[in-house]
């Protein structure tokens, strides 16, 4: 679980979120969040992103997140898709 390819998922449309995952030299998840609803939901978004990645076994990565007001379900879907592309591990198939 240490070979990550830089990958992304999502769009910049309103109500969507764009997630980019790249390898990190430092241990841990480094989430860089830019959100239109940062004041009210910034912490919640970071929580959903890190939970979703941890569940998929990604614990060390640079994660760039540009959020346009996505709901939690959308955030999980986009993070999962980005992680599948980054790890090559297809969670839907397995």
């Amino acid at each position: 679980m240490n070979q990550l390819t830089t990958s992304s998922a999502g769009t910049l449309e309103s109500g969507d979120i764009m997630v980019q995952i790249s390898p990190s030299t430092e241990a841990g998840l480094h989430i860089d969040l830019n959100s239109t609803v940062a004041y009210q939901f910034g912490e919640q978004i970071k929580k959903v992103v890190s939970e979703t990645l941890t569940e998929m076994g990604v614990t060390t990565a640079d994660v760039k997140v540009i959020d346009k007001g996505a709901l939690d379900c959308t955030i999980r879907a986009r993070v999962t898709a980005a992680a599948v592309r980054a790890t090559g591990k297809d969670v839907w198939k397995d």
Binding site: S14, G15, T36, V37, A38, Y39, Q40, F41, G42, E43, Q44, K68, G69, A70, L71, D72
Partner: protein, 516 residues
Amino acid sequence: MNTYKERAGLIEQAAKACNTTVYKEKEVPNKDLTPRTTSLTKSSKVMSLEDAIRHTGLKDGMTISFHHHFRGGDKVVNLVVDKLAQMGYKNLHLAASSLIDVHEPLIEHIKNGVISKISTSGLRGELGRQVSLGLMKEPVIFRSHGNRGAAIASGELHIDVAFIGASSSDPMGNACGYSRYPTAKSICGSLGYALPDAQHADHVVILTDDLVPYPNNPKSISELNVEAVVEVESVGDASKISSGAIRDTKNPRDILLAQTAAKVVENSGYFEDGFSIQTGSGGASLAVVKFIRQSMIDRNIKASFALGGITAHMVKMHEEGLIERLIDVQSFDKVAAESLMNDRKHKEASSIEYAAYNEPSAATRMLDIVILSALEVDVNFNVNVLVGSDGIIRGAIGGHPDTAADSALSIIVCPLLRGRIPCVVNEVTTLITPGSGVDVVVTEYGIAVNPRRPEIAERLTKAGLNVVDIHDLAARAQKIIGDAAPLPFGDKVVGVVLNRDGSVLDVIKNIVEPTN
């Protein structure tokens, strides 16, 4: 005998009685003998912007005013304020009918002290954000269009110098928002928001990009009110009027909302021959007229007038004979502006005639139905159209509270959520239109009717529409988005919202951006 000479004594007596002098013929009569064809294009009022500013006697600390009929295409505010900055003016009070994204350069003029106070209907874009973050020492004063007109007329908002952009003016200052000459460069149609300024400001400067020969008739603004006429390259770009908040929507959710609102109109009890209607800015509310058109044809119903905020859709329905007359305080697109120029039944109205609370004949009082948008509606039917759910000023009051309070039926059209931002909430971020004037709220998850209007709820239910409790809508929104953290408001008041009668309705606090 009764000759002129013999009447001299009586003439002198009459002069004394009238407290005036006796006429004396001049030795050299000062009759102007030049052919008038050469003087129709000249006047001592025509001068450079800098001379015009000096001519008005503008001083530091005074109030200057502008209209926003060109909306996103406006070029006058930035041009004039740049010039005032160059000339070294400080501490001016800028009283605009509204300010939009295009007025972002004002931020620098606020920082360097040229502008120290703002009165407006709204703020958008970076200017709104900076003001929310505490850019200004004095809070911005927000007024509805009706209240601005009333406040100018009463002297509560005293304007020293009005700078009015006009699409044509003759050298004497007869001006309007279109030009009938082949030299026409711009068009904005109605000058409704500038008419109170023209009438009541101490000094009026017309800026025009089409200086036409005298007489520029018919006109909106009379030469009697104008002191200086300044020819400029451009006063505005008409193609940018219909942008931002008043664009034509293609969003499928907006269209669904508009279709539902049209059904509310048709079953409200006010959809009768001779009814009157207005639509506010916002894609969904503007689109409603498209959908009531067919019902008007089917049921042989004609509207006596449409008020607004006139759009191309309304002009089309007027030309089809479905709307008898158009009352236009602001032309929302080029088609509407051209119709105002060409159609005698399409009339310009000042913001006072449109919506002043203390004007018994204000057009809003003759209005049956108004369809409006909202950033937020709360469970008490209060509406916010000015401050975003992130606490940042990003809208405008416009005529929202005026039309809601005065119409027989006000309908708010808004989605339940915009992204993760709820539009139906427990309490609005800022109170703009009190719920006492709001009758129906249309969302894609159901229609809420103010309990004050049980007869409307009954009619809509009978028509098979999905009438729901507004508390259920708020709860549903809350459930979808999850728990929001409180907004990082500071302790500084950055905005004061006036009610349409001039009383203070609410204040807006600054937002403290978290430092990362």
